[in-house]
């Protein structure tokens, strides 16, 4: 087997050195009746060529986003990732290293985490960021838990503009922990009013911007209300590129900002792995979940980096830890950081502007399709369409025509009377021709 260096001679010699008669002796603690004396009913080993053939066959059954005009978003976005990013993250020293527990021989990873934390803090306009969470949804779950620890209150209020998967994840985990979650009704027009809902039990209000339906939301008023009533404001984003062009949640008064970083540096990957971003104010530092990298010096006075404030974490605090997270999104956060380093402020703003321009153009083209209405007054690179027909069917028909034309809202919010809504996103990857193809396909789908 190509991955196993030992040969029969080695094994025999090593068994002798270990002082055991056979390999089975080493497994003697497994109760005899429970030991397998045969190979399981699974295929035997395969050559590299055979594995390639098999997996390429499965991959070929899927329609890759890059092969068609593509407009799906709803929390996962197709962006162009420079070739250098994927090359660099495959450097052995990044790809095949462990969590940097021995800082003297992990300065590469540690410095990139320090840079990542700085980038995330700057993007969100908050004081500190951690070394990443699994993804935007689990980061939101952690933010809600953190708000409860800080406020000592038990009820989280989730906006009806929060990604439904995020809301469901928060509700599931909170319910299990014995906490209360109030999920507001889907809020297509960003019209909900939180102020009257916040009471003395409210730990936090969770608001997404741009929201699930694409609307831009000014969080300032809700931030002020939260402050008055002693609750925290958790700002969420699913499209991090938006922060290149719109007000970051930290600048609008959010206390904790969490979001999905997939758009920068990472591919769609059918939903994972992604990278959760987590930032907050310095005063809440001790309540942050997950790893933090800090700057220090070595014995010779040279600058270096270490994982720090570890007493918050599970390996020291065990059941009293701020979170159970251990493995995070290391390599995906590195991809994020490298891509962000390539972009810089100027590149990010340009990228965001192109996204917005493409979305504006798409909205204009789709508005011209009979039976189609764009519901948003404001948006970044994604908006909600109301169509004269069933959205899921229209999306299926467009797929048959070779256009992946967005996400039916009913896929995430079934049974809510939202069956005629489509979320459509346009990023820098879409050409004029793509957008025209979308408009044509939608028109075709609606006229079937």
């Amino acid at each position: 087997m190509r991955y196993l260096p030992l040969n029969a001679e080695d094994r025999a010699e090593m068994l002798a050195r270990a002082g055991v008669a056979s390999i089975d002796t080493l497994f003697a603690d497994i109760p005899k009746a429970k030991r397998l004396d045969h190979d399981l009913d699974l295929p035997m080993r395969k050559t590299e060529m055979d594995v390639e053939r098999l997996l390429s066959g499965l991959a070929a059954k899927n329609v890759a986003a890059g092969s068609v005009p593509f407009f799906a978003g709803a929390g996962a976005y197709k962006h162009h990732v420079p070739a250098s990013v994927d090359h660099l993250i495959q450097r052995s020293e990044f790809l095949t290293s462990y969590t940097p527990y021995q800082p003297e021989i992990a300065q590469g990873t540690l410095q990139t985490i320090f840079e990542f934390q700085t980038q995330v803090a700057a993007l969100t306009a908050l004081d500190v960021a951690n070394a990443s969470m699994y993804d935007g949804s689990t980061a939101t779950v952690e933010a809600v838990a953190m708000a409860r620890r800080i406020t000592g209150r038990s009820k989280a209020i989730l906006s009806g503009g929060l990604h439904p998967h995020y809301a469901e994840a928060v509700r599931t985990v909170s319910t299990m922990a014995g906490e209360e979650t109030e999920v507001l009704a889907p809020d297509v027009f960003a019209a909900e009013d939180f102020c009257s809902l916040i009471d003395a039990d409210t730990s936090c209000v969770v608001v997404q911007n741009p929201d699930f339906f694409g609307n831009l939301r000014d969080l300032s008023a809700i931030a002020a209300t939260c402050k008055t009533k002693g609750a925290l404001l958790v700002g969420v984003f699913t499209e991090v590129v938006s922060l290149g062009l719109i007000q970051p949640p930290g600048a609008m008064g959010a206390d904790i900002v969490v979001g999905e970083g997939q758009s920068i540096g990472n591919r769609l990957n059918f939903g994972g792995p992604y990278v959760g971003l987590f930032a907050t104010k310095t005063k809440y530092l001790r309540q942050i979940p997950g790893r933090l990298c800090g700057q220090t010096v070595d014995a010779s006075g040279r600058r270096g980096f270490v994982l720090t404030l570890s007493t918050r974490e599970q390996h020291i605090r065990r059941d009293k830890a701020t979170s159970n997270i251990c493995t995070n999104s290391g390599l995906a956060s590195l991809a994020f950081s490298i891509h962000m380093t390539l972009l810089g402020d100027a590149g990010l703003r340009r990228l965001a502007t192109i996204n917005h321009a493409h979305a504006v153009d798409l909205a204009d083209r789709l508005t011209a399709v009979p039976g189609v209405q764009v519901l948003n007054k404001t948006f970044f690179n994604e908006f909600t369409l109301r169509i004269a027909g069933d959205a899921a069917q229209a999306i299926e028909r467009m797929a048959e025509m070779g256009v992946l034309g967005g996400v039916p809202v009913s896929r995430l919010l079934p049974g809510r009377g939202l069956d005629d809504l489509i979320l459509a996103a346009s990023t820098e990857i879409n050409t004029d021709a793509d957008r025209e193809a979308f408009a044509d396909a939608l028109q075709g789908a609606l006229s079937c």
């Binding site: 720090t308 007493t311 605090r317």
Partner: protein, 125 residues
Amino acid sequence: MSDTHYTTSHEYIRVDGGEGIIGITDYAQAQLGDVVFVDLPPIGKSLSKGTEAATVESVKAAAEVNAPVSGTVVEVNGALADTPALVNEDPSGEGWFVKIKLADTSELATLMDENAYREFLKTVS
């Protein structure tokens, strides 16, 4: 220092009148290593004997500082916020944690005096 009392979990309380200053012993600070953070209770909090009065953290450990006897917090050592190293440098002096107003001075009888604590240390190391 005859009015200093010790617990088996290495806290001390130095009693003066109806009030007592709580800290951790020199042995405890040495076991913890460099103290990097101390979390102190709010003034006015009432503590019952044996419950958590504060937490103290080194780089790789976190420990609870329990109230040796019951009482109400009347003062905390604000200097520890900026200089947690005081716990290492002067645990029985500048590195104190919390001052409480004792609820029941008879609880002191359950603690060790300095000699007893010194003997106790011989059994733990």
